[in-house]
């Protein structure tokens, strides 16, 4: 007791200590992806939202960032941007914000470019070094469009961000196929025990553990794991229901009553925890192991059906998985067992029954993957771990299809395409912030036709000088966008809803114009948090990203995520 404990062989490294609170979320794999990333911020306007985003990325340790911004530091910057100081007045904003951001984390490299966006973009392959691009409005629509085209060609995720007064918005253009395996579903609600379709090893384990259930001592009876109890009572149920498991909600309730009655109340506690757990699990666990619509969407994707030697490993595994699903009518077993009241040895044994089956399923999928690779003539084998991770989370994989920004090119209206109907229906939905989004698009259209000076790229925000006149103009543009949307969708909105839609859009525009292009620090900080979070998801390929437009209203403190 006097001797001090020797340190463990593998104590945490200094990096693990610094990043401990986030490694508990995205683990070492996510951290490695962050550390390899290089984020480009194309900044303009007050430019706070982009810098606040970078702050939230430098802290958790991205590899590198680059700020492209040709603005000179003015007095106004000092009242809104935390990463500038008085002595920087007159200097390049990109340079000084870059330096102060770098102070936050010595592991991160920062760079800056003071060249105007226009000439920067005219160089070939200029976006290649970057993992992800953030573009902060205002930016001329031509440049945004050119940038988006270049980024898409290199499959670089791109964010387009607005932050004006109490409002903000961002849209994400992900690559055309953005699959996520590690979606982090809630472990409590996603336990997959396959109680309706037990395999022989599970059935015989359950049978063995429930032999002479009625004669068991109170202690033993109170420690039969709930999964085993449910399997036992399902067998009992089948005896009186033509060999069928409970088919619908009513039958499940009747089945639950049957389990409830099985619990002993003549023991010292007057109840049994394992039975309580079993009763609580009936509605959650007695569901067929069908693949969700999100998973079926992956199986039906063209990339999954027609593999090529160049297919991404995700698609090869997905294809193998779809074969497995066709053969077994279920996805590979994940193999994890939630905690349940049980004797230690029984629980470990039950865990092993599940693990063994999960390993078999994985081996089968891996075999298919290997034969697909052979057939396709692929040289580099897919890492086994990738296949294993896929099997473990097969039920929760997700595919996001990147969608383009709405760019308000002069003379061209906003086109909504396959989302016209959804967008038009949202106009009258009181919980949707689509009208605020349209107000931002109208603001873009206004700035496109109001250059601040002759330097290509610089634009003027509505309300900078004459809010009343500008509000009128921007409202006119917003109402035109609304009318065009309604007609593109082939819909008609009746009075008084139509007038309400118009006046609501007018209010959003007025509030935007009131700010005169100003960013409020709080809204920039909040939006910088949202964008950084989405950047982390896109870079780590973990969790589920926004698809594809997020709008925040700081007047009512509400947000909307809409797919356009």
């Amino acid at each position: 007791m006097t001797a001090t404990t020797p340190p463990p062989l593998q104590g945490p490294t200094s990096k693990e200590k610094k990043y401990d609170r986030q490694l508990r979320l995205w683990a070492a794999s996510g951290q490695a992806a962050l550390e390899e990333s290089h984020i480009l911020l194309i900044n303009s306007g007050p430019g706070v939202v982009g810098v606040e985003t970078l702050k939230n990325l430098v802290l958790p340790g991205i590899g590198q960032f680059t700020i492209l911004d040709s603005a000179i530091v003015t007095e106004a910057d000092l009242g809104v941007n935390f990463f500038l100081e008085e002595e920087h007045l007159g200097g390049f904003r990109a340079e000084h914000t870059c330096n102060l951001l770098k102070e936050l984390n010595p592991d991160v490299q920062g760079h800056y470019i003071t060249e105007p966006v226009e000439s920067f973009l005219s160089k070939p392959d200029i976006l290649k070094p970057y993992t992800l691009i953030l573009v902060s409005a205002p930016i001329s629509p031509e440049l945004l469009s050119r940038l988006e085209t270049n980024a898409v060609a290199s499959a670089i995720p791109t964010f387009y961000i607005h932050c004006i007064g109490f409002y903000s918005h961002f849209s994400v253009h992900l690559p055309s196929a953005f699959p996520i395996v590690d979606t982090h579903p809630d472990p409590v609600t996603t336990a997959d025990l396959r109680l309706l379709t037990p395999w022989p090893a599970l059935s015989s384990f359950a049978e063995e553990k429930t032999t002479e259930l009625e004669e068991m001592s109170h202690h033993d009876h109170g420690h039969v794991p709930y999964a085993v109890l449910l399997l036992y009572y399902l067998e009992e149920w089948k005896k009186t229901h033509n060999g069928q498991v409970p088919q619908n909600y009513r039958e499940k309730i009747a089945f639950r009553d049957m389990v409830t009655i099985g619990a002993r109340t003549n023991n010292p506690e007057g109840a049994e925890e394992n039975y309580d757990e079993a009763v609580a699990a009936v509605l959650k666990s007695l569901n067929p192991a069908e693949a969700s619509s999100a998973v079926r969407e992956v199986f039906q994707a063209e990339e999954c059906k027609s593999l090529t030697p160049e297919s991404a490993s995700f698609w090869i595994i997905a294809h193998a998985m779809s074969i497995f699903y066709k053969n077994h009518s279920s996805l590979p077993l994940p193999g994890s067992v939630p905690d349940m009241k049980a004797k230690s040895a029984d629980y470990i044994q039950l865990q092993n029954v599940y693990k063994t089956k999960a390993r078999q399923d994985f081996a089968e999928v891996l075999d298919t993957v290997r034969s697909l690779e052979k057939r396709l003539g692929r040289i580099v084998a897919i890492d086994e771990k990738e296949v294993e991770a896929f099997c473990k989370n097969a039920a929760h994989i997700k595919l996001v299809r990147g969608r383009p920004f709405h760019v308000t090119l002069p003379g061209e209206g906003v086109r909504w395409g396959d989302r016209a109907k959804f967008a038009a229906q949202s106009l009258t939905n009181p919980d949707s912030l689509i009208l605020l989004y349209i107000a931002f698009l109208a603001t873009d259209a206004f700035t496109a036709t109001h250059p601040a000076d002759d330097l290509g790229g610089a634009v003027k925000a509505p309300g900078e000088v004459d809010p009343e006149t500008d509000a009128e103009k921007v409202t006119g543009i917003a109402l035109k966008i609304i009318d065009d949307l309604i007609s593109e969708a082939g819909m008609f909105i009746e009075e008084p809803e139509y007038s309400e839609v118009r006046s609501k859009a007018g209010e959003y525009v007025q509030e935007i114009v009131r700010a005169g292009g100003a960013e409020l620090h709080n809204i920039a900080a909040l939006t910088g948090g949202l964008v950084a979070q989405e950047v982390i998801k896109a870079v780590t390929k973990q969790y589920i990203p926004v698809d594809n437009t997020c709008i925040f209203d700081g007047v009512t403190s509400k947000s909307s995520v809409l797919r356009f």
């Binding site: 104590g11 610094k18 401990d20 609170r21 802290l59 106004a76 809104v80 470990i348 209010e507 007025q510």
Partner: protein, 435 residues
């Protein structure tokens, strides 16, 4: 929007005010949602500079930065913590060289240097160190405290300070909290709207693992760690006070847990998990902290300036819930004030109890029940004292009651008063016997 112009302010006219060009657009112009009687301009700017505001807690870095850049000039900050290396992934005012120093001190100096003209007064200690006179000086309080106990304390203090005849005694409380990708921001107008105590059951404590599981039937790696933490340490090292920050102590627990896990064939005990379980570590990231702190400061700014409607106005939304792991989802709603709230209501709260419970069982259950969460309760009925935690003489005198059943001590529906050293108020509960 007719009044737009560039007015000359007595307060920092000319070049000084140029710095606040963006903010001034909002302070000097009405918007479609501002009150028709609201007058933008000089008075608003002055009010904002004069408002004394208090920030506290783990979101302190974000809160100080945001308040300073919202135009507040007189900011106070309370934080008892010193800087740990694991803070550096999100608390951006601290550097490696600052590890070990007081957070409030370092943060205040940093923001004062960065944002000229703002005065930040730090206090390195607990919010509970301060009294009503201290809290009375502030226009409002923004806090992102880590502990539910500290939240309940400040909430009860502010509710208790309200004097109907003195409108200045009502201090809005703006509270933010985060956990991983989730968080919430809420605004409380003490006595007028739902308070933190009214909302207590929305933040239920995690259920503890039963002792018998730890002692006899562990199944999870966490069970082995809890065993080492609660049982093995007590048995083998009871003379040494367990220090969660001492690597030698954590290592000892880790090795104990690992050995126990091996005995039971349980896999998965790691050093990091040991640390997580023992210190009850909650994941924390810069982005969620930024979102929640900024939301709180946005509400503080709107309350101080009336530049737009704010959360917490009676009969309107007062709570924003945030979830960011699956897309982005916010739910903004009005949490209703509870007439039986032990802090801001006047009715006793119903509490269903098992009449066969001993007083001891009942006291233990109070710590975990989401609607109570009281760890060291002293309990009395109108007629008699059931149990006193202190002073020792009273404790001794009431101790025999601990083994008595509830139905021997109180009648069905009887009201009891419960106090706890963590709170300055008495909780009233009506005990209803479960059938």
């Amino acid at each position: 929007m007719a009044e737009d112009s560039k007015p000359n302010f007595s307060n920092g006219a000319g070049a000084q005010r140029l710095r606040w060009k963006y903010l001034d657009n909002i302070l000097n112009r009405p918007g479609p949602f501002t009150d028709p009687d609201w007058e933008p301009g000089e008075a608003v700017v002055e009010g904002l500079s004069r408002a004394k505001i208090l920030g506290a807690g783990g979101l302190g870095c974000e809160i100080l930065k945001n308040l300073a850049l919202s135009g507040f000039k007189d900011i106070h900050v309370i934080d008892m913590d010193t800087i740990d290396v694991s803070n550096l992934n999100r608390q951006f005012l601290f550097r490696h060289a600052d590890v070990g120093k007081f957070k409030a001190e370092v943060a205040a100096r940093f923001v004062e240097k960065r944002v000229k003209g703002v005065k930040i007064t730090p206090y390195c200690g607990k919010i509970q160190d301060k009294d009503e006179d201290y809290y009375m000086q502030f226009a409002m309080i923004v806090c992102g405290l880590d502990s539910i106990e500290a939240r309940r304390w400040i909430n009860a203090t502010l509710v208790g300070m309200v004097d109907e005849n003195d409108p200045d005694s009502l201090k809005p409380l703006i509270d933010g909290g985060t956990e991983g990708f989730k968080g919430q921001a809420r605004v409380i107008f003490p006595t007028m709207t739902s308070c933190i105590e009214c909302q207590l059951d929305m933040h239920a404590p995690r259920a503890a693992v039963p002792l018998c599981t730890l002692a006899t039937i562990p199944r999870q790696p966490q069970h082995c760690i809890e065993w080492a933490h609660i049982i093995a340490w007590e048995e083998e090292r009871k003379d040494i006070t367990l220090d969660n920050d001492d690597p030698e102590h954590i290592t000892w627990l880790y090795q104990k847990a690992l050995k126990r896990a091996q005995e039971f064939n349980i896999s998965g005990v790691t050093y990091s998990m040991t640390q997580g379980v023992v210190k009850n570590i909650i994941p924390a990231i810069a982005s969620t902290n930024a979102i929640v702190a900024a939301s709180c400061c946005n509400e503080a700014f709107k309350i101080a300036t009336s530049t737009n409607p704010f959360l917490g106005f009676p009969e309107t939304d007062n709570y924003m819930m945030y979830t960011g792991d699956e897309s982005i989802y916010t739910y903004t709603f009005q949490h209703m004030k509870k007439p039986d709230c032990p802090v801001c209501g006047n009715l006793a709260k119903n509490l269903e109890v098992d009449p066969a419970f001993t007083l001891q069982d009942f006291i233990e259950s109070l710590a975990e029940r989401p609607e109570a969460q009281l760890k060291k309760p002293t309990i009395r009925t109108e007629a008699k004292s059931l149990y006193y935690q202190s002073p020792p003489a009273l404790e001794e005198q009431t101790r025999p009651n601990l083994s008595k059943k509830l139905n021997e001590l109180v009648s069905d529906g009887e009201e009891v008063a419960i106090s706890d050293p963590a709170f300055q108020i008495t909780f009233k509960f009506k005990l209803l016997f479960s059938k």
